[in-house]
């Protein structure tokens, strides 16, 4: 077993575009759940909207990158408004059920064969990332960053992804410090108290839903770009639950928590995979095969989510006083 490589693999997970996408989507959830108290279980749907909203215009009418991006964001806003209209006046668990159902509706619709021309059904869409990589300022070649060697495409997507994450963190940090942020936190603590101060609770909730949803859709685009493909199977309900695990790991009412949570989530997954596979190959573990080792990691994710919620709901960074529930 090569512990050096296993450790390096885990460290590498800190900086992958997928981790950035998880961080961004979890940041969106932090706005929804951590700051406003909205239980959005449909973040996977927002990510799918972003990915398809970006890929379909690019492939169907050759839309240039900014236009495709704009369409994806507008689709995301429209989805948030549609979701919010019936549910934001209702109790938290209704919002949870409706958002999870809406995300699944999106997944069923992009999977259906009737729309194969547009969405590629179960196979999804590919080859829409050309516009993004044609903007690449890095010359072709290998770039060595410490122990990691990246080609120019890898480097470009990483730089863009983490710049977006940093900007999003800055914007959200400024937002939650602003008067808007104070009202939203007030809604989380006691909706009726805020309402009695004359604030339009419904409008604030809707704004929070839209902002977090747009972050989710951006994350969806970043998630698909390095893969060069968008497939509906990636946007199931489990994606949302993994995002919640990352969010709770880091701390849900913090700006940096979701980012750190996503990093820990992927590094731990990579570390356990490396260790288990290494132990199986070297014969130290004989009662597992590599497929089962992969499944074992997801059992651990589930158990970790339960234990976190029970024993440390504020996460690594959070402050126990700032929980949307006592």
């Amino acid at each position: 077993m090569d512990f050096g490589n296993i450790l390096l693999g885990a460290v590498n997970e800190f900086f992958t575009p997928t981790t950035a996408a998880y961080a961004l989507a979890a940041l969106g959830l932090a706005v929804h759940f951590g700051y406003t108290g909205l239980l959005n279980f449909g973040q996977a749907g927002f990510m799918a909207i972003g990915a398809y909203g970006f890929a379909i215009p690019t492939l169907s009418f050759n839309a240039p990158l900014p236009v495709a991006l704009l369409i994806a964001m507008l689709a995301s806003v429209a989805f948030a408004v549609l979701l919010g209209l019936p549910t934001l006046r209702l109790r938290a668990d209704y919002l949870a059920i409706v958002t999870i159902a809406a995300a699944e509706i999106i997944r069923y619709v992009v999977t259906t064969n009737g729309l194969t021309e547009v969405t590629g059904s179960a196979n999804g869409l590919a080859a829409f990332e050309g516009g993004f990589y044609s903007l690449n300022p890095f010359a072709p070649g290998q770039y060595n960053l410490g122990p990691f060697s990246l080609n120019e495409r890898d480097l470009w997507i990483r730089v863009v992804a983490w710049t977006v994450v940093a900007l999003a963190c800055l914007v959200i940090w400024l937002l939650v410090r602003s008067p808007w942020g104070r009202v939203v936190k007030g809604i989380r603590e006691d909706e009726n108290a805020v309402r009695s101060l004359g604030k339009n609770v419904y409008a604030y909730k809707m704004q929070a839903l839209i902002i977090g949803g747009m972050l989710g859709s951006l994350a969806g685009i970043i998630f698909t770009l390095p893969r060069g493909a968008v497939q509906p199977a990636n946007y199931g309900t489990e994606l949302t639950f993994f995002l919640y695990t990352a969010l709770l790991l880091g701390g849900m009412s913090t700006v940096l928590g979701p980012v750190i949570g996503a990093m820990i989530f992927w590094a731990v997954l990579s570390l356990t995979q490396g260790l288990l596979y290494g132990a199986i190959e070297s014969g130290a573990i004989t009662f597992l095969n590599t497929t089962q080792a992969g499944q074992l990691r997801y059992i651990l994710v589930g158990v970790a989510l339960m234990l976190l919620m029970i024993f440390r709901p504020q996460g690594v960074l959070g402050n126990k006083k700032e929980l949307s529930f006592a």
């Binding site: 999977t111 259906t112 179960a122 639950f241 059992i299 994710v301 919620m309």
Partner: protein, 461 residues
């Protein structure tokens, strides 16, 4: 201290359950071949990759071709001529850059595994049909089949002269879909009633309910693979479901209630539990779809309606069970106590009702009902797989929300509406969109009547 001892006890119970479960499933594969319909040919090594098998089928025909036994998504069917199974007929599937073929087994069944869901072209090689047997008129060959959210699709090639598909007129089709929908709705109701009872008495929206459904079907498969008679396997599976409900409540939910954990954190804990249970089942059961005994059943003609025997049995069983649950709730002391707790737990406690005992019984009943629902769902799909419960979890939620969260009879009505809607919508919608309609209806009803059909206004706060 209490928290730690509760956790230790929970872990102990979990370990015991997992142990029993593991033993059962480890024993299962040995006897599995005798109970499940055997795959037609065993010629391929399970490790071979997609590309390798695709090459195989180009290089040589016949017995070296893959039947895709290693994949969990399957296309299958049964070939019968005048009620008698037809063996040794070659059937090919191709699509998405993949190709596989198989022969029908002694009992006429065939099954081809495919690497991913999508559209496949299925062709029956007519030259391999026995002498004097031909495809019935109007039977497409080759035909395209498409996965619709489940990991198993069935396509039937009808043989013989003059056989036409039943229900050509719209009216007959509508009645047949309605009967199938009623059967589906009632099996949903079994799980939905349990979920609704749990919500009503504890306020918990239990996302792990889908895994309780899967657990029942997997247990039934495990017990029957051990060689137990089917009725005993099913009874034990339902008892096992009640056991899972008991262990969950005693080991996890009761300690959490004692700590005063809020409802939203409990909901997230149930998501963690769902993930852990789902992957634990995958770990021991594997990703393949397995069939319960007698999963292929003859079609029965009842007047204008033709319905498969299993669907009919499922319909009757769920109806009877639901009527029993309703009678228990309305007529017995414990039923009255349950309704009292659902209405107002502190008041119920003050009038001398042991709230914890009621909740424990509700969890056991919910577990047993979910297990029974899982067994019936395994016959309806057909097949047992690790994510079968997850597939209907949202439909169960939709039923409960439609009827009114926490109301038992609302859950029943909601389930029947969802079941009917899912099946009848296939008359117009593509089959792979059939769940979309039910979910949309739920959202629309929330717009007009957020408390659900039978819910009371104050429940939504």
């Amino acid at each position: 201290m209490g928290r730690i001892s509760a956790l230790a006890r929970y872990m102990g119970m979990l370990a015991a359950v997992v142990g029993v479960f593991a033993g059962l499933l480890l024993a299962a594969p040995a006897v599995h071949a005798t109970t499940a319909p055997p795959p037609a040919s065993e010629s391929t090594a399970p490790e071979s990759s997609t590309e390798a098998t695709a090459q195989d089928s180009e290089d040589s025909g016949g017995d070296e071709t893959s039947n895709g036994a290693e994949y969990q998504d399957r296309i299958s069917g049964v070939l019968r001529n005048a009620g008698a199974p037809v063996a040794g007929v070659t059937i090919k599937a191709s699509g998405n850059g993949y190709e596989a073929e198989t022969e029908t087994a002694e009992n006429g069944s065939w099954s081809i595994g495919v690497p991913e869901q999508g559209a496949y072209e299925v062709e029956l090689d007519e030259s391999t049909l026995p002498e004097g047997v031909a495809l019935a008129e109007g039977q497409q060959n080759p035909r395209t089949v498409t996965f619709a959210g489940t990991s198993n699709i069935t396509t039937l090639f009808l043989l013989g002269e003059g056989i036409v598909l039943q229900g050509d007129t719209f009216g007959t089709k509508l009645i047949e879909r309605a009967v199938a929908g009623l059967s589906f709705g009632l099996l949903l109701a079994l799980s939905a009633v349990g979920l609704s009872l749990i919500f009503g008495t504890t306020g918990l929206t239990n996302f792990a309910h889908g895994e309780m459904v899967t657990f029942g079907a997997v247990l039934a498969f495990g017990f029957s693979a051990l060689g137990l008679p089917l009725w005993l396997a099913l009874v034990l599976a339902v008892v096992g479901g009640a056991g899972l409900g008991y262990v969950q409540d005693a080991g996890l939910w009761r300690p959490l209630r004692r700590r005063g954990t809020g409802l939203v954190p409990m909901m997230i804990v149930s998501i963690g539990l769902a993930l852990a249970l789902r992957y634990t089942i995958l770990f021991f059961f594997g990703g393949a779809t397995q069939q319960l005994p007698d999963s292929q059943s003859p079609m029965l003609e009842l007047g204008p309606v033709s319905i498969s025997r299993n669907n009919l049995v499922s319909l009757v069983v769920s109806l009877v069970v639901i009527l029993i649950v309703a009678a228990l709730l309305l007529r017995t002391r414990i039923g009255k106590a349950t309704r009292a707790v659902a209405d107002n737990p502190p008041l119920a406690a003050a009038s001398g009702i042991d709230v914890d005992r009621v909740i424990r019984i509700v969890w056991m009943a919910g577990g047993a009902l979910a297990a029974l629902g899982g067994i019936l769902w395994a016959y309806y799909r057909p097949g047992v797989s690790f994510n079968m419960g997850q597939q209907i979890l949202l439909l169960i939620f939709a039923s409960v929300t439609l009827g009114g969260l926490g109301t038992v009879f609302g859950a029943l009505i909601g389930s029947i509406i969802v079941g009917l809607f899912v099946e009848i919508s296939t008359l117009w919608l593509e089959a792979d969109l059939k769940y979309v309609g039910a979910l949309l209806i739920m959202i629309l009803v929330l717009l007009v009547r957020p408390q659900g059909i039978l819910g009371r206004r104050e429940r939504i706060g």
